[in-house]
């Protein structure tokens, strides 16, 4: 029982810290790229904005699917939390780490599609609707590579458990053993959290896309939920490819946090440097390049795992 309490507490702290870090990083990189000076504002901008949104009146369109509209951001956040729960942040903190950890993670990330689709569909407004359908196209394209690279990471571990996958990297991290894995995974992370070049459902050309009709607490919840998914996905990247808690001198949790941070910096940085790609072209590239590469990754990883036996 105390284990579970500690795990839940750690999960809560990790999520809170992660979401806050994403807001700080985003602001920091944005200021840096825009050529503004750096000020302490980066630390406060996110929380202040959240409080501001809590004071704003929620909006409603003419005839929305109100229940689904309210459900979508809550579901997105919960899926982020579930995704992070599958990852043991340290050897002694396995919350929902089980023999089928990456299947659970995959299920949580597959359900993100439901949350985003509902968010765009519910408003009964044309631009959110286009955003919703765009995300379905995006999600159907990145889901296969996402599952395949995680399966590759599971091959040397002979287990689908995230904890086992981390332990299997004691000698050499998967990022070296399976060089194709992390780059493909990072592309899918951008899709999962619709961040940066894959910010298709909430894009500027749709005037905010699925969030175009949202205001107030629901908008804050949507932003937080999206950051939670990003944090969960980055943590999974750290666990599956960068050896999770493994590392000398420092405690495991710190290593896990640092590695997640590196991936978060990478994805936030890309968000301010890479132009948004077009849905149609991404779909073609995902199927014609990413999935075959991921399948090759599976094969090569399997071969190496056999050779290492």
């Amino acid at each position: 029982m105390t284990d579970v309490a500690a795990g839940v507490l750690a999960l809560g702290v990790a999520l809170f810290l992660g979401v806050y870090l994403v807001s700080v990083l985003d602001r920091f990189v944005s200021d840096l790229v825009a050529g503004h000076g750096l000020t302490a504002n980066v630390f406060w901008a996110g929380p202040r904005r959240a409080v501001l949104l809590l004071l704003q009146q929620p909006s409603r369109t003419e005839r929305p699917d109100a229940e689904a509209w309210a459900f979508a951001p809550a579901l997105l956040g919960a899926l982020g939390a579930l995704g992070l729960a599958t990852i043991p942040l340290a050897p002694e903190l396995p919350l929902a780490d089980n023999a089928d950890g990456i299947v659970l993670f995959g299920a949580a990330m597959a359900l993100v599609m439901v949350a985003v689709f509902l968010h765009g569909w519910s408003a009964n407004s044309v631009f959110p609707l286009i955003g919703a359908y765009r995300f379905v196209a995006l999600a159907l394209s990145y889901e296969m590579p996402l599952a395949l690279v995680l399966i590759s990471a599971a091959l040397p571990a002979e287990s689908l458990s995230v904890g086992e996958i981390i332990r299997s990297q004691t000698d050499v991290w998967n990022v070296i053993r399976q060089p194709l894995g992390l780059p493909i995974y990072m592309v899918t992370v951008a899709g999962l959290a619709f961040w940066g070049p894959l910010r298709l459902p909430d894009a500027a050309d749709l005037s905010g896309g699925t969030r175009a009709e949202v205001s107030g607490p629901a908008l804050a919840a949507w932003e937080v939920g999206r950051s939670m998914v990003l944090v969960a996905a980055a943590a999974m990247g750290a666990a599956a490819f960068l050896g999770g808690w493994l590392g000398p001198w420092l405690p495991g949790v710190v290593w896990m946090g640092l590695k997640t941070l590196v991936l978060l910096v990478l994805i936030v940085w890309s968000g301010h440097h890479l132009a948004r790609v077009r849905t149609e072209r991404f779909v073609v590239v995902a199927w014609v390049v990413l999935i075959p590469l991921a399948l090759i990754d599976v094969f090569l990883s399997g071969w190496l795992a056999l050779a290492a036996r």
Partner: protein, 481 residues
Amino acid sequence: MGVTSHRGAGRGAVRDELRRAVGKIAAGSAVPVFPMAGVGGRDAARRIRLSRRLEVVSSPRAANVLLIAGEITPRLLRPAIRIHDQASPPRATLFLIAGGAPEPDVPSKPEAGSNTEVAAVESALRTHAIRDRFFPFAGLVHQESEVEAASRALHRDLVLAERATEPAIQPDRPPLPWRGRGPYGHGGKGMTGGAPYGRPLPERGNDRDGLQLDRLPLRIGPFFPPLVPGLLLDVELHGDVVQAAELGPNPFSGYVGASATCPFMRALASPVRIADLELSRARSHLRWLSDALHALDLSALSIRALALAERLEADNVPLISAELARFSRRLERSRTLTWATRGVGHIRVDQVGDTHGPVARATGVEADARCDDIEYLALGFRPIVHDDGDAWARWRQRIGEARQSLRLVTQAGDRRSGGAGIVEDPRGMIRLQTHTLDSTSQLLPELVTGREWGDAVLAAVSLDLDLERDARLTSVIEEGR
């Protein structure tokens, strides 16, 4: 009873204190502003991106302050009112009277000034009238430099509940009754008949792949952020693909006259320093670059491009030139940018027609009024031309021309050009004699038809439309007649 009420009051006081404390935290955040640009307000509306205290939001739902910059013409009035009413409370409106025109109660002396000043005063008076009639609660500033402080003050008062949120301007009319006519309570013949909640369902139409699915007829604009201010686009969407498109009327027509502040307009009548012309051209291209980057979700890079444009002055050209060189290298190396824009909005040479300027030159047509100018030729001017004719070519075209303009500024010295009734402005050729209008905006419907919405927006952005310029050219040419 006295005790209860006392306790109730105490609780109320605690709640007020709490509300105040929370409000103070929120008041420190960047002000979410939704800008709406009327006549002469586009630059000011764009420049709020530069302020760190203001945050441009893409939809009025998330805005606290609605900035109405410049004059709202009759065609813009209803949309502005609708957007005001769509914004979620707490909301406040701020008017920026362009050009620093005087207050209406200050006796102005139109006879003392030029025609332009008269026009500015008239425009300001009209804006005041609109504000008094429809937005009596709105804030008002006369200088662009006051926008930030005024927005912040409005925002602070709103979140601290010291200022009441603005009420809706339109009446709260419930939807038409529609229920109860069919066997299951629906409002018409068949399942798609009737007008649920006072609005009909879309009707089917043919599609290019042989299916017949619903078409959504929409009028988008004039304040749709990814498109230029004032653009009214009538589209029929079939899924996310534009099935048919048509340009709506130009809301600026009849409300803009010749502007004395624009060097290109002056160059039509009398020679102007080439350095001034080219600085202005570079600024215009950089402002476009900022808008285009914004439409690609690169808001931070967009701020950087805009900062280059706004910092650009005659005395810092080498510095800006070097920065722009670095910036453009970075953009041209960007694979995702190429990927996003290559092949989008492709214009064939036979479609160019009466289109001039960078759009024509990016399609391989070497048309430039500067080629016939002896002063430009003396500077060794040769127009930049790209052959591809797609959005990516137009991106490179404008970045290249901005750099070329900066080079010309450094070489031009005191040379002057113009006065012959023909000038090349950043968007094309202006000729007084031939009475022809530049037709870039007429290309738009053809470019977006059959495209996915994202491609359509990128194509529209790459044209660098300016409806105010279109209206101005019309009025100048009509004056010339």
